[in-house]
Structures are given as structure tokens and as C-alpha cells.
Symmetry: D2
Subunit: 328 residues, 4 copies
């Protein structure tokens, strides 16, 4: 895997280190600073991130926890050398170069791969993932939002025209490891800030997967002074339901066989600690029958189910391993 | 003032210490633990919280940053002794004993004072505050929510039937200084949690002041791992406006002479650090004309404009001082 | 195991859950509050913490991550029922009832067990642990201090008469999960405080294991606003060495076969993040040959090598498993 | 003042804003990013940081909360234009260009000013500060260390040959506002790290003011995951004293008329919260007569008494104002 010094990359290393069927190789792409390390032999070999390495080592899968620009540059050659690629950036999630250009404000440099890419949300795209060569690992915010919204939208219990509000909050590791003023400790501690109101580049993933119109969703991304974790508070007006249990029934039907989705009793809700350092997506439901207003609380670890954990889940599917290996 | 060891009480002491027209006396009501203190003579005298003290000292105002039960017990006797009372609890905010009983789950023990109490939100109740003997200092969440919503609702630019969402987040000092598992450091750090979904006792203050129906508002209270500060992200569908500036115009008209309200340019928003340790309420506006969805970001310090700061603002009004003394 | 709702208890559950040779049973001793839980069948059976349960279930080992008072009460009956006991409190660490009474300010209620207890620091007491029925798991601070100091003291390179300073800092979980004002979030965040200067009850464990006189050691315990982790900065004047490498050589000789000790290159040092959620003790060395002053930085996770991790290491030894199972 | 966007600069603006005898002008030197600001007229004029501005505006004092390189460049021309200069960097603290070169690893570019500069620690250098044109505001660590050590060393109660240990911890704002990996939120939160063991550039200020030999002091600088505040735990062997009170007596004699020094009762100690957002230096003393080991706990706000607060105290002295204006 490349990009192993970033936060998603470090988490991938941690998860893959305990995977019984994986031999991990680190692929150097660009420099970044290491943390202090104890003495001793290195745990993993480091090789250049090139097609030659893929061929010489016979790499089955390359993970790309890299920025979209790097992913668009690396993916074609790595695929050409015979590796499957699991990309953690937004490069291959949006289906068309036009959609990418609109939300990422730059031209796509590998548009021929967009059709080929499978969207890596196993709960809804498992069969495509299994046979894919290129997997676009979902964004962290859309993972939680789609797992919360899609079953209810499919069941027709949300009054779409009243609008859905997704108030999303994330830990700082979601912004990556590159130094910036906005992610400096003194700017973040004892603070809470909005940073993308009604215009986050993760919005089109929610619209696409949950089949929503743009005017039906208000999405805001906000920064919590914590390292890792996402909590989304999702509001809508419900119809054809009488209780929180009715909404939970829909989830239970949809997710009864899903190992990574956990539900809470009516009126209870997960917090970020419930899911930190796990690959779970936890869902809680509150409903007020007098006003027909419902609230869903969805929590994931942005580096777990929101990035590295889900990437390994996708690898397990793509390579034919049991889906939850090293994730439970 | 009584309750001087709690967080609102400590903040009151800090603000009143720099007030040029105030001589502060601390009134002992119940015990709590002090922090380590440097040696030296005590800064303030401590006396029992009784009518006798009020009379003997000729206290003009007594602040009650105490729980509602203590406030209902103390307010009648202190008023009887001739002091004005500024109560920071929920005891006298809701107008009727029935409303109090519904939201606070207990009977009101001083119902005769409810009609007399002025609601202490200067921006909308200044004239009543000026002459009041008993001032019910507003809740922290409703202060921000009403300052954000009332001008827009009065101007008729919110589509009420689509519903208003107020996703509110608060620092931990809002829960008070009494030890509890939920506010323990290890439970809160690196966490973010919801704690009152669709049923917070501050909701009726928003309904009452902004003149909303219960079904028109979805309110959620959440805990940020910080000491102090509130940020509310407020969502609605707008009508009869074409831009964020149109919404800002309404605020500018309403608040042009208000010293404690600050506005941000369209698309910009305050964060909690903008208002921490101040008495300001900061408001930012985002609007998407394609979808007619608007988002207001309102930020206050829960111990400032949300409690102690606003209480001093009310005292300044009630005693005829300049409204902003020791608050700017 | 009993005490499974405290922080050490929760960590034990986490570690033992991935242990291939352990079937875990939770033993109810006293009540405490649970965190919100997803729905579904409980992961572990809960039984009363009694000798009958030990016999009926054939429990091989009982962990006691409980206060010293509870451990002194429970250990005799559980041992009598045939279980080995690994106690995480200070109850059985000090060798004599007199020493316990001096430092814990209360009489020991099971003094007959003090001689029998093995001190559970594998790096220096491995053979006694292997055959022990009662294991006194070391305190968190002494674990780091003894691993740092004992090899250097044994090698005679510390000028004892100049005094050794151990400036110790711990995360808040070291204070336990019981609510208290001092561990409340608002008291701890953005703060740093000393809490036991020259008189911590962990001091006698350092004196005893490293064979120090009381006057040779100055120990201070301090609170970092973090959840978990300990860092000790240890100062002394060295003799008979010429460089940091000379001190490292002593560690390398002592610890070359120890799986849980990691060393850093001269002049480098671990931080708390290096060891968080691990069972490692990391050691870094700095030495100034002009002044002959040396500094050792020792880092552990107070819930890992400082409590639950080391307890499992001791269990692995006592039951004849490979020592590092579920710890690497 | 220049450098007004850094953390010391922001604190200077906050303190000077409430100073009754100061009209503040901001001097642009180099660019940095602003925080979000409410709309409205700017509070302060911004002008270029040049001698012309000094002359045209008749600036009495220019503060330089800038890096040492910028201070060495700006100070000569600003002094030449007739302003007094209060420099917050290390540029003018060390007395000789040789000492500067040794500790700052670069040549001094304005060595002619070194003799002229007064060291701005009012408690020990008040008379020189009063008449000085150039004031070298002390480093944050030495301020606390010298206020703690110098009276005791002067009184001869410290056994110098046993060595003094100063274990210093600072909040992250001490590292400045420039983005870096080491001060990123995710690197700092839930961590604690050493960063300058036995070789910090603040050491020579302690040696010089307290008149210590290098071999008598072991100093370590460490990073606490907080915004602001310094706590130093200082260890030594005492002589000719019998109790903590004996040590306190020395402080009381030295500091009885000092408005910015506060003492704690024997065995009590300040924490960082005691001094946050103040200009105080708080001192607590612990002493064990059996072992003759003493511990001093010294706390300041690194942006207060450790930087901006002390700079304003120096300005008050240099301009003949009452020393504590806007600082109490």
C-alpha cells in the first residue's frame, strides 16, 4: 500500500498487520514525516510504488489512501500491472468526469476508469465489489448517511418534500495529516466549527446512492475537537409509521445479516465512543408521534468503517476471504 | 449572590469583579468543593443566603445561579426582603405552573411568582426587564435559538410547515459542576454524544419566545468535549428571499442597535472560539437559492450570553446602568 | 472477572475477548452504570462473584480489577474455591501488613495472603509468577519506574546520593471510573495538575523492587488531560558511563529477550502515543557527558502494561500459555 | 505592534484593548491567516511596520511578538525612529553574540544592541526596565523557573551540588501559530511528549538570572495537550530549613510587595487553571524533612506572565504607568 504515513494509511497498516492471510508491503510514493520509532528491524519492507514492484512482488491488491490527484495518477499503471486497486480518495466515486469536475473543481485525469470502478459500500454493492478490479472506497460522511437513509427512503417512510437534514460532525483526522492552520491544536481545542455548509464534496455520494434530489438534502460538515469518529444527526418528517420501533423494523429487515451494522433500542443512541476503533456503523432512532418528526443518530469511525476498515472489508470481498477477517 | 462555586456562579464572580458600580457579597447556601487557592485575604465576604442578610446589607440584587429547586425556595424570601432577584435556573421561565410541571417533571413550589417574572432576553424584552423585581434569565440553548429564529419568523421568510431543525451542541460546563459519570473526563474526551433528542426542557422557551408550534421544531442537544460554548446549526426552507444577504438584511434591521449581536458576511460563520468568554451572540447565514434551503449558525458562550453574562446585562438594565458595563 | 465496568476491567474484557484460549465470564460484585449498548445477545455471561461460581464453572483464574478493600474481601474466598487470583489493586503488593498500613492508611484485612502473593512484574519476577496462586499485579507508576531504574541501579551507574527524580504524569483513567469533582471534564480539560508530591502510595513499590532508600527518590504524580497513558521523566547523575549508548547497552543486555520492552536510539524518546493501547514499555535515554546528568523517558499505557495488559501477561505465565498471546 | 496574528500577538491585542492609556496600532510585517471575523468597522488601524510609521504616528513603544530573526531585523530601525521596543523573542536576552550563537545556532545580526537591552523580569530588574529603550521580554520557561529558584538560591538553602531538576510542561501555543506536523491536533491530543531534553534554548536565561552553573541544572521541556499554560515541577535537596514554611518564608520576604506573585499554603500547589489568562506566577512548596527533598510547583500562563502579560507589565514600567494596569 502507498500513503502509509497518513492517518488512513496508518490505520490500514494496523488492521492489515493482524490479518492472517495478508503479507504487507509499504509502497513509497511521496515523503512525509515519521513518528519516533523504537529501535529494531523494520516491520515491513518498503518498495517504490511502481508497476515493476507490483509485478516483481506479485501484489494482489494495492491500497491507495492518497489524495485524489495521486490516485488518478497511480491507479491506471497499478491496474495495468495486474493488481487490484482499492482507492480511498474521491477520485473514482462519482461515476462521470462531469460530476467529478463539478464537486472537486478540477478535471478528472483518468476518466476511462470511472465506469469500471465499483462503489465499495458492501451493504448495498456487495456483488459488484466481489468481481471488481478497481474499488472506490466510499467517503466517510456518505458511508454513515447512506447506511442510515437508504433503507428508509427505499421503504418510502420519509416525507422527501419536507427535506432531510444531515448535520454531520467529524474528528480532525478526517482532514488528513498534512499540517495546516485550521487543524492546528490551538485552533481546534476548545472549539467547534462548521466548515462546509450546503456544499461538501461528499454530498453527491449521498444523492447517488440513496437516490435523492439535491433539493431534498441539507448537509453540513463540522469539526469536533477529537482525533477520530463521525456522528451524524439526521432529521426528517416520517409517514406511514407510528413509532421508533416501526423505523427500527425497517433497519432490522435490511440489516439482519449484516455483520457491521448495529442497532439501538428505541430512544437510545450510539455515541462516537461506541464505534471508535471499530468497523461498525451504529444506528439509533428517535421518533415523536405527535409531530411525526424523526431523528436518526448514525456513528462510525471515520478511519474505520469510514476509510481503512471498510477498505479491508472490500479487500476481503474482492479476494474471496471471509468478509470480517481482522475487523471484529 | 448564591451558588458561587458552580460554573455559572464562578463566571458571575469573574464578570462582577470588574464591574465599577458593584460591591459583591457571596451568599452561602449549600456546600461544594473549592479549588486550590493562593494565600491571602479573601476577595469577597461570605454571608448566609437569608432575608436578614439582604436587609442588613441592603442588597439591591441577588443572583441565583442555583438549581430550579433551590431558586423556587430562595426567590420568595429574598424578594420579600426587598432585593431584586435574577434567577439563572429554569424555575421562572415558562409562565405557568402547568408548563413547568410538564417539562421539568415536578410541581412548581412558588407559582405565584411566575406571572411577575420578566423573561431576561434584552433584545426582545428590554422594557419589561427594566422594571422587573424578578428576572428569569433565559436558558442557554433558547438564547441562541431565539436570537437566530425570531427575526426571521417575524419577517415571514421561513416555511414553517417544512419544519425547522435546531441541531444544538454545548460544552460540558452546561451540565453543571456536580460530579457525574456522564461528565467525567474519560467519558467525554474523544467522544461526542446526543443527550436530549426531541425532548429537551429548553424547547418550550423557544416555542414561547419565537411563537412556534411544537410540530414545527426538531431540537437536539449534544455534548462537545470542550469546557464552554454553544453552537447551533439551524436549518429551514426559506421563502421570499433570493440570497443570504436578504436574510442578513432582516438581522441587520432588527439588530442594528444591539451591542451584543454580531453578524458575519454571507457564507461565513462564527465558531465557538469567536464567542468564548464574551457576551456576544454571533450569527452567520448560508443560503442555496437553487434548493431554497438555508442554514443559520448561531454561537454563544453558554456561561456568557447563555448565563452569567446575560444575567449581568439584565442587572445593568434593572439597576439603570449602561447595559454593557463589564461585558465588552 | 469482577469489576468489569471500571476502566481496567473494560480493558481486560477487550484483551481477553481476543485471547484464543480463554472463555470469559463476568462476575457481578457491585453495581455501576453501563454505557449505551447496541441491541443483541450479550457477549458474555454474568454470574455472581462467589466461591460457588468458581467451583461450578471451574474458573481457572479470577481477575480483580477492584479497589483494595474489595480485593482483600474477595481474594481469600476465591482462592479457597480453587481459582488463581490476579489482583490489580494495591492490596497484595507491599509484603507486610505494616507497610500496607503505612501507605494505604488502613489495616490489611487479609494479611495471611501477603507472603504468598507473587509480585507480577514478569521482567524481574517471572519464575515466581509461573507457580503463584495469587498474583499482585503491579501499580502503573512503579511498572514504568522499575523497568527504567532497576537495570541501571543494579549496574551501579546511578549516583544514588545525589538523588533520583521521577516526575510522573498519568492520564485520567488512572483515577478510576467513579465520578468525582477532580476528574470532571471541566476541571481537567485545559489543565495540568500535581496531585501527590513526595507521598504517593506507589512509592514503596519502587523502593522495594529497585532496592532504593526513601531519601534517594523524589516522586511526583501529575494529571494530564488525556484518557490513558503514563510518561515518566527520570533524572539522575550518572557515573562510569560516557554516553547515552553506554546506558542503552545496559538496557539492551537486560532486555534483549524481553518482548514487551522497546528501546529508542540515543537522544530519541517515546511519547505516550507510542505505547497507547499496547502492552509495551518504551524507554529513551538522554545523557550530557559534560554535566554527567542523565534523563530516562519511560512510557506505558496505564491500562495496558500498567494494569490489564500486564495482568493478562501474568495470566499467560501462570497458566502456561505463550507469554504474549493477545498482547502483540 | 507587529506580529499581531500570532498567539502572543493576539494576547497582546486583548490586553492592550482594555488599557486606558494606550491607543493601539497594528503593524503589518508579514502575512498570516486571519480567523473568521464578524462584520463591522475594524477595531484597529493597520499600518506598515516601518520607521516612517513610527515617526508619523509618534509611536512610543513597539511590541515585537515576532521570531528572533524578524526582531533582529526590525529592532534597530524602530529604535532609530525613536520608539522604545519590547521584544518578545529570544533575540536580545543572552547578553553576548557568542552566547546567542551557541544556543540559537545562528549568528546574531544586531549584536550592538545586546548590551543596551534590559532583561524584562520586573521582579528582579525593575530599575533597569524603567529607563530602557530596548526590553528583552523573558522566555516563558525562564520566567517561572527564575521566579521559583532565584530567591532560594540567593538564600543559600539549595544544595547545588546535588543538582536541581526543572521538569517543565507547556501548552501548545508556546510553539507558535505556524502550522507544523508536531502541533497538529491529531498528533497532540491524547498525547504527552518531551521535546527538548537537557538542551532547550531557554536554559541560558535560567543560568544567567539565577546564577547557576550548567552542571547544576537538568531542564526538560514537554508538551501538554492544552492551548496555554506552563507548569514547572522543580526538585532539589534543601539545607538549613526544617519545613515547607521555612521555604515559604523566603518567598514571602522576597515577594511581599510583588503584585504578580501568589503563594500557596505548605503542601498545596497551583495548577495551570489557577493562572490561565492571568499575569500571575503562582508558587507552591512541598518539603519532606526526613529526606530533605523539596519540590516547588510554579505555574504561569505562557501567553500571560510568560509573554504578552509581562510585556505589558514592562511597558507600564517603561512609560511610567502603574505597573499592573490592565493586568489585574
Amino acid at each position: 500500500m502507498a500513503g502509509f504515513r497518513g492517518y488512513s494509511g496508518q490505520e490500514l497498516v494496523a488492521i492489515l498487520s493482524r490479518h492472517p492471510h495478508v503479507e504487507l508491503v509499504l509502497l513509497e510514493h511521496r515523503d512525509a514525516e515519521d513518528r519516533p520509532q523504537p529501535m529494531g528491524p523494520p516491520r515491513f519492507r518498503k518498495l517504490p510504488c511502481t508497476p515493476e514492484t507490483v509485478r516483481a512482488e506479485g501484489l494482489a491488491v494495492v491500497f491507495l489512501p492518497t489524495p485524489a490527484e495521486a490516485s488518478m495518477e497511480l491507479a491506471p499503471t497499478l491496474l495495468g500491472a495486474g493488481a487490484k486497486v482499492i482507492d480511498l480518495s474521491g477520485a473514482f466515486r462519482l461515476g462521470t468526469p462531469e460530476n467529478y469536475a463539478r464537486w472537486y473543481k478540477e478535471a478528472h485525469t483518468a476518466p476511462e476508469l470511472l465506469k469500471e470502478a465499483a462503489y465499495g459500500l458492501p451493504e448495498f454493492c456487495r456483488s459488484r465489489i466481489t468481481g471488481a478490479k478497481l474499488i472506490a472506497n466510499p467517503g466517510c460522511y456518505p458511508t454513515a448517511a447512506n447506511l442510515a437513509l437508504k433503507p428508509l427512503l427505499d421503504a418510502g417512510v420519509i416525507v422527501r418534500e419536507s427535506g432531510i437534514v444531515c448535520d454531520a460532525k467529524s474528528g480532525v483526522s478526517g482532514a488528513g495529516r498534512k499540517p495546516s492552520l485550521k487543524t492546528g491544536f490551538c485552533e481546534v481545542t476548545e472549539n467547534f466549527s462548521t466548515y462546509a455548509i450546503l456544499e461538501h464534496r461528499h454530498v453527491p455520494e449521498i444523492l447517488r446512492v440513496s437516490n435523492l434530489e439535491e433539493g431534498e438534502l441539507s448537509f453540513t460538515a463540522q469539526l469536533i475537537p477529537i482525533d477520530r469518529g463521525i456522528l451524524e444527526t439526521i432529521y426528517f418528517r416520517a409517514k406511514d409509521v407510528h413509532s421508533a420501533q416501526d423505523l427500527l423494523d425497517i433497519y432490522q429487515k435490511q440489516y439482519s445479516d449484516e455483520p457491521m451494522i448495529r442497532l439501538y433500542a428505541p430512544g437510545q443512541a450510539p455515541d462516537i465512543r461506541s464505534v471508535a476503533r471499530t468497523n461498525f456503523c451504529d444506528l439509533g432512532v428517535q421518533y415523536d408521534p405527535r409531530t411525526m418528526r424523526a431523528v436518526i443518530v448514525a456513528a462510525i469511525d471515520n478511519l474505520g468503517k469510514g476509510a481503512a476498515g471498510q477498505a479491508v472489508q472490500n479487500m476481503n470481498l474482492a479476494l474471496g476471504f471471509s468478509e470480517t477477517i481482522s475487523l471484529l
